[in-house]
């Protein structure tokens, strides 16, 4: 899921400036799980904004804020509030904020910072393991992604900063290359480690990414 974190309240107020009437949008998917934009957080935000002198005209937690047609539909249903508000504050990922952008011409403010695509370790604990590179090479590395989990994205083995199995850049994180080496040993595939890996095709997906899976040619991975 997409891991996001609420921005400091002061930053949100600063973004609003003199604008008084606001409309809050949360997300029923990732931001609910991460407690950055679910029903509870939106209710809490409403209270805080009102205490700061703002008027909350509307608040909705969309099923999935990244769904652009849904956002348009929600704002049609709340036409008056959507029309009267000075600004929308969106508590989802950056994709969700931009869905709202597509649905209104008003001031749209992100209420969160979007951090990464995360695995859930346990409730409210997340780790980044995939960076959406567009060309999955996991099998080359015992299904432990060095592109994401090595701080330098090295593809051919540990750097000199590996430190008793931990990463020099952040000693709280394991060195991905030690994990990969151990895993390939377990699989009896250590020869795989000796393969010289070329650099990534960083443009495997032309950014900004776009996929029309209705177009069957494109769906088959024409990229």
């Amino acid at each position: 899921m997409i891991i996001s974190q609420q921005k400091p309240f002061e930053e949100i107020l600063e973004a609003l400036g003199d604008q008084e009437k606001v409309y809050l949008v949360g997300c029923g998917e990732c931001a609910t799980m991460t407690e950055s934009g679910g029903e509870n957080e939106i209710a809490d935000m409403k209270t805080r904004l009102e205490a700061a002198g703002k008027t909350v005209l509307g608040n909705d937690v969309a099923h999935a804020t990244c769904h652009e047609l849904d956002m348009k539909r929600i704002f049609r249903q709340s036409k008056d509030a959507a029309k009267e508000t000075d600004a929308f504050i969106v508590f989802s990922c950056g994709a969700g904020t931009q869905s709202v952008r597509e649905a209104t011409d008003k001031h749209v403010i992100p209420g969160t910072n979007t951090l990464f695509l995360g695995n859930v370790k346990r409730n409210l604990q997340y780790e980044e393991k995939c960076s959406l590179c567009g060309e999955c090479v996991l099998d080359e590395y015992g299904s432990i992604c060095p592109v994401t989990r090595c701080a330098k994205g090295i593809l051919n083995g540990p750097c000199g900063g590996t430190n008793n199995g931990q990463c020099e850049v952040d000693p709280d994180k394991p060195c991905a290359w030690v994990l990969i080496h151990n895993q390939l040993k377990k699989e009896d595939r250590i020869d795989q480690f000796m393969k010289i890996q070329g650099p990534k095709r960083w443009n495997a997906v032309e950014r900004p990414g776009r996929l029309d899976a209705r177009d069957k040619d494109e769906e088959k991975g024409a990229a």
Binding site: A151, K152, G153, I154, L155, N156, G157, P158, C159, G160, G161, T162, N163, N164, G165, E168, V169, W177, V178, I180, H181, F193, M194, I196, Q197, G198, P199, K200, W202
Partner: protein
């Protein structure tokens, strides 16, 4: 071919020093160090934004060394440049008469002084080695023919004290397979450990013309030695050397460090442990001539 490569390929015990360019335009100390060392050693490494800290460029200083009659080992990290910029700089370096290149991935920006910079790492060390090899063969990375090939002596690094060592050894072997012709090691202090590592390395390089130079960082105080043990991954100063450094008054510590360094050089040379040494005095290059004297190298 530069004199560094000539020395290495002749089978002579190779000696190199290191120049860390200054952060700014005051180059007097650096020029003095180059002047002092260029004729005493076979080559001078020039670091590339060392520790991810902005400094005067490695290529410009390498060129200066070459134009003054010395030989430079141009250090190149993949941290700050993508594949286009790396190859562009390799061609530029070649144009400027630079003939040795040390291929490094480079310290992460988070340890440097521009922590919010976007690190590049389009290539890493193994791929940079491959790229230089291709250019030596007359092709760019994508296989386009160059109008004139390069003639670089291709260097790499290895960390003999890395923990765990197995993945590090595997990477060392990959660097050789990719085209590395010489290695400079991360600083080594435990000569027994290093001899064990070299026994392994000699086995790997047997039948191949690959030279290995031991990296020696001169100890300047017991505090510095302890600091490295605590904070520099892959560097290990054993207890007996800590005690030796502590056995003398503070003001004599640097002399003791020089003695240890000279002793290690002699041991490595006399026992034919490796093919040379790379001496790093980290800003105190004026002490290197005396170390070379103490080690009977001049």
């Amino acid at each position: 071919m530069g004199k560094y490569r000539e020395a290495a390929e002749s089978g002579k015990f190779v000696v190199s020093g290191e120049i860390g360019p200054p952060k700014g335009t005051q180059v007097d100390d650096m020029l003095h160090h180059i002047d002092l060392l260029k004729d005493l050693v076979d080559g001078l490494n020039v670091t590339d934004n060392q520790s991810a800290v902005l400094r005067l460029g490695s290529m410009a200083v390498s060129h200066h060394i070459v134009s003054e009659g010395g030989d430079a080992v141009f250090q190149m990290t993949t941290r700050d440049r993508n594949r286009l910029a790396l190859q562009n700089d390799l061609l530029s370096a070649h144009f400027l008469g630079i003939r040795n290149v040390l291929c490094l991935t480079g310290d992460h920006v988070s340890v440097g002084d521009h922590k919010d910079a976007r690190e590049v790492y389009d290539f890493e060390s193994v791929q940079l080695i491959q790229a230089v090899k291709k250019m030596n063969e007359g092709y760019d990375w994508t296989g386009n023919e160059l109008q004139g090939s390069t003639d670089f002596y291709i260097g790499a690094v290895v960390t003999p004290e890395s923990n765990p060592i197995e993945p590090q050894k595997a990477k060392f072997e990959k660097k050789i397979a990719a085209g590395a012709q010489f290695f400079q090691t991360q600083a080594v202090y435990d000569m027994d450990n290093f001899q064990n590592f070299m026994e392994y390395a000699r086995g790997v390089t047997e039948g191949k013309d690959v030279k290995i130079m031991a990296g020696l960082v001169v100890l300047t105080s017991v505090g510095m030695a302890k600091y490295m043990n605590k904070f520099v991954p892959g560097v290990f100063v054993p207890d007996n050397l800590l005690e030796e450094m502590a056995s003398v008054p503070k003001e004599e510590a640097i002399k003791k460090g020089m003695e240890i360094c000279a002793r290690h050089i002699k041991l490595l040379k006399d026992k034919n442990v490796c093919d040379g040494v790379h001496i790093m005095a980290i800003g105190k290059e004026e002490i290197v001539p005396e170390i070379l004297q103490m080690a009977d190298l001049v």
